[in-house]
């Protein structure tokens, strides 16, 4: 079975996370679950990758974190939630455009079986 190489997907982890956060603020495990679900179990993001992305994007001002006591299910665990900023939305849009172009270019070199 082919697997996604982490080198290739690295540049797009941020895009995936942002696309989820644009819908609503969320926290670590919930985001990794969503990525898994949307990708039909084809991509499982590592915890360290996810946390790296959070710190990097927070530093760049694409997302903000806040601590909430309760999640929507009324679970009492304290969690760090993340929400997207305007700069994050802009970055997401530019990454989407970049991907369309990248895909178009790479596609031309891929041999169709």
């Amino acid at each position: 079975m082919v697997e996604i190489s982490s080198d290739v997907i690295r540049g797009y982890n941020d895009t995936m996370i942002l696309s989820i956060l644009i819908k609503e603020p969320s926290y670590g495990y919930e985001i990794s679950k969503q990525i898994r679900r949307i990708s039909d179990d084809k991509y499982i993001i590592k915890e360290t990758t996810l946390y790296s992305a959070f710190t990097r994007m927070e530093k760049n001002g694409y997302i903000e974190s806040f601590v909430a006591d309760k999640d929507p299910e009324g679970n009492g665990k304290k969690r760090t939630y993340y929400r997207v900023t305007d700069a994050g939305r802009e970055f997401y849009n530019s990454k989407c455009d970049e991907w369309v172009l990248t895909k178009e270019v790479i596609e031309r070199f891929i041999e169709k079986k």
């Binding site: 495990y29 590592k46 915890e47 360290t48 946390y51 790296s52 959070f54």
Partner: protein, 318 residues
Amino acid sequence: METIKNYLEAMFANMPNTPEVMKAKAELFSMMEDKYNEMIADGVSENEAVGTVISEFGNLDELAEDLGLVKEVEEVHVREVERPRRFVELSEVQDYLDGRKLRGIMIGAGVFLCVISVIFPIIADEFAMRESYGILGMFISIAVAIGLFIFSGIIGNDFRYLQKELCQIDMSTAEYVKDKKNDSKYALAMMQTIGIILCVVSWLPAAVFDNKMAPVCLFVMVGIGLFLIIYSAKIKNGYNTILNLNDATTISGTYGKELDAKYISRTAEVFMSVYWSTITCIYLIVSFVTMNWGSTWLIWIIAAIVHKILKVALVKED
């Protein structure tokens, strides 16, 4: 769950002890915990859940990069080579803590003997014995005390390296000491409080009974009080010395500083730190003004109850 925690601690073992690293560790643990709990709730076996969580964890190198810690991680490595910190083993820590306890008893007993040495002449006088017996008793008592001081100093020398050398402890040792400190917290606080109370009320007998033996009572009470204060302080400081070996430049593990109760605000912290001295002042002032020593001691009981309530109310929950 314990396995996951240990795994994470092992992964972070070579990371410096900075706030960023602490936060990363806590966040990663939270994610792993969520994943584990959900798998268990879905009926996955514990072993399988632990295996999955660990295999999907990833590696910390990329994290070091994004946390901007590459430099620090390297520094830790360089320091380990150039100025190695001595790793203090759990057995050494246990020896140190036992030695500390013994020294607490010795120094406490020595101080006790010094304080009560003066009662021998009084006793000799009271029971119409020869004066020289009283003097002799006093000097023997002081001599034994000095012997105890010297001996405790010799024991202490074995552990001088804790102060002189750079040392560190690993995570499990830190946890062990932390648990011990927590377990003995109330017993030590109680000892200290009783010690202080004994010293403060020591001259009550002398004030109430007009008897030649009253001064004897005073010195014995002060002696016992000081013994309790010294013994409890010795043990408590022992725990703190060990826990403070790790700091921001060592590998991750428990910081001593973090372990003390955190109060909800700075004001609360200051207030609680001067609480007992304030009570002592109030007690003395009230007692001297009213001269009602027979009932003012109740202040201590009330103060202890109020202290308990304040502590519950003002300590920040984790």
